[in-house]
Subunit: 328 residues, 2 copies
DNA sequence: TTGTAAGCGTTATCAT
DNA sequence: ATGATAACGCTTACAA
């Protein structure tokens, strides 16, 4: 059914090798080249990438592995990766891990066994194991989060600084007790953002045990809502809260509205834009968290590795407050 | 670097065929099987899927091609497809077309030339051409939208009914002039949703030219905002609006809040949940638009086709108002 | 049950 | 510039 280069060759009156050369832009006499192209369209020929990949030992596909496809931060990141990759002639396939190591391992395996050109990975946790990829010299760039014990390029945000900046902003507005809702226990970004918060909190309330005002949730809307509710049930509730990611901020805000505590009656600072927000009133502080930019940068690094760059591993850290040109 | 079944075979003292049999669960004596597995782990062997696909003429990967990865409706749909596919032993790769036919064509080509097991496709428009896929007997299921002139399975929402139901709901609430913001011109869902609206609108305002109260936008937030603004600038603005998708509803609501016209001062009905909404007040009517359910169904159909079902093409149409078990 | 060997559709090497 | 041919790593008749 599907035509091969043999059939194209036969129709064009040349050898399969010549057809291949035409397809790959090698030197072929114009006459033959034309004939081949004609034959190819006549037969509706599509090169078999599987065979090509097998022979070449590498495909032209980049895997982008992310923990939560429903989080707009990661879809923005995906757009960034896509834009650069497509421009460079690579295609991007997206793989969603749901923050589960088994799903993630499965997709990492696929990246290997499909001989993908490279992988942009936002790891489920620092324990994610990419040795198998590296053993096969598949370029890997981690983004948003890093992995332990691997010398690979990483494109990260300055999470500690983000926590500090957002928390400070609330104190600067005059709030007196800023709580923190951060992410799950074994996710490094969650710890770092909380670290930044703790530093500022402790400076303002040296006598108060910071941990009392710290909550951990799942980086999703429901988690933020529950954590916010929990904080408000405290004997002495905070008068402001730093929420460590976009979705949990939505949840936190939802809870606050439900109990009629609209910001700025209570302070709220979010790391990352509230997606699709219909929130009009001022009172919510947002620290930009440029997913698309991260994706662009990660793709650039990956493409340079695919291109043969064997220099030492690079780590690029961006501060949320640095954001200048969001369209970058 | 990467071990092959030949090396595993050598280490285990068997033939490559036996290794393959162990890997694929064919009948092999337990002793050999154990030895093979041992050798495989010792060499950190990963089967080369490229070679397998080339030989078998089909991979175990399903492509899911969607027009807008940033729309939560499609990411929910993706989750549905994923859940079913992973359970059946297939992996899902997501491809984002941005509603652009060239990007879409590229991914369709890849699906062919990577010999993917099947494709779940939400077409950029009805003009999307899937003949090449069908010519190669790659199972295709379209979802959310259909394509013209192809006899393939389709999983659709009843868009006309949705438009009718949402519009009627507004009139039932007592609004007198319900405008409509629908999607782009060449997207069938946009026309159908508008058709449903037009029917109800005309019944209530037989003298008024319906088209005056119809706006088309891009199914995204900015489009909804602009269209809403445009409607409100009319000499005789509507007192309610039916918005044909989730993201445009967000945009419309944003505009209304910005001019201090909070629902229910003006009526707003949305086809599909407002994503990540922080909108508390009542006054927005939401017709469920179950993306995940669509994904589950589409995957089921596709898997049955992959499994060899050659029956006539099926079209499954769901009504938004039918929604019973959103967790499906 | 196990092994041998052909073949999947390319690309790349080597002659010519 | 072009063609013949081996090779990529696996699966699957077919034989034993």
């Amino acid at each position: 059914m599907a035509a091969t280069i043999y059939e194209v060759a036969a129709l064009a009156g040349v050898s399969p090798a010549t057809v291949s050369r035409v397809l790959n832009g090698a030197a072929v006499s114009p006459g033959y080249a034309a004939k081949v192209r004609e034959a190819a369209t006549a037969l509706n020929f599509r090169p078999n990438r599987t065979a090509r990949t097998l022979r070449r030992q590498s495909s032209e596909i980049i895997a982008l592995i992310i923990p939560d496809i429903e989080n707009p931060f990661y879809t923005a990141l995906a757009r960034g990766v896509e834009d650069r990759a497509l421009a460079a002639g690579y295609s991007v396939v997206l793989c969603n891990t749901d923050d589960q190591h088994d799903k993630e391992a499965r997709y990492l395996d696929i990246a290997i066994s499909e001989q993908m050109a490279g992988v942009v990975l936002a790891p489920a946790s620092a324990r994610t194991d990419i040795d198998a990829l590296l053993a096969r010299n598949t370029p890997v760039v981690t983004v948003d989060r890093s992995t332990h014990g691997h010398a690979v390029d990483a494109v990260l945000m300055d999470n500690t600084d983000g926590g500090r900046a957002a928390t400070s902003a609330l104190y600067d507005e005059g709030f007196l007790r800023v709580a923190c809702i951060t992410g799950p226990r074994d996710v490094e970004t969650a710890d770092q953002r909380a670290d930044g918060w703790r530093e500022v909190f402790t400076a303002h309330s040296p006598r108060v045990k910071a941990e009392n005002y710290l909550r951990r949730a799942n980086y999703r809307v429901d988690g933020g809502r529950a954590a916010m509710a929990d904080l408000m049930r405290m004997r002495r509730p905070p008068d402001a809260v730093f929420v460590a990611n976009n979705l949990m901020s939505v949840g936190a805000l939802q809870h606050l509205l439900s109990i009629d505590m609209e910001p700025p009656a209570i302070g709220l600072a979010s790391l990352g834009d509230l997606p699709f927000t219909t929130w009009q009133k001022k009172g919510v502080t947002v620290l930009p968290w440029p997913g698309r930019r991260l994706g662009l940068t990660a793709a650039d690094l990956l493409l340079s590795r695919i291109g043969g760059d064997h220099g030492p591993a690079r780590t690029i850290i961006t501060r949320g407050s640095d954001e200048d040109d969001p369209t970058g």
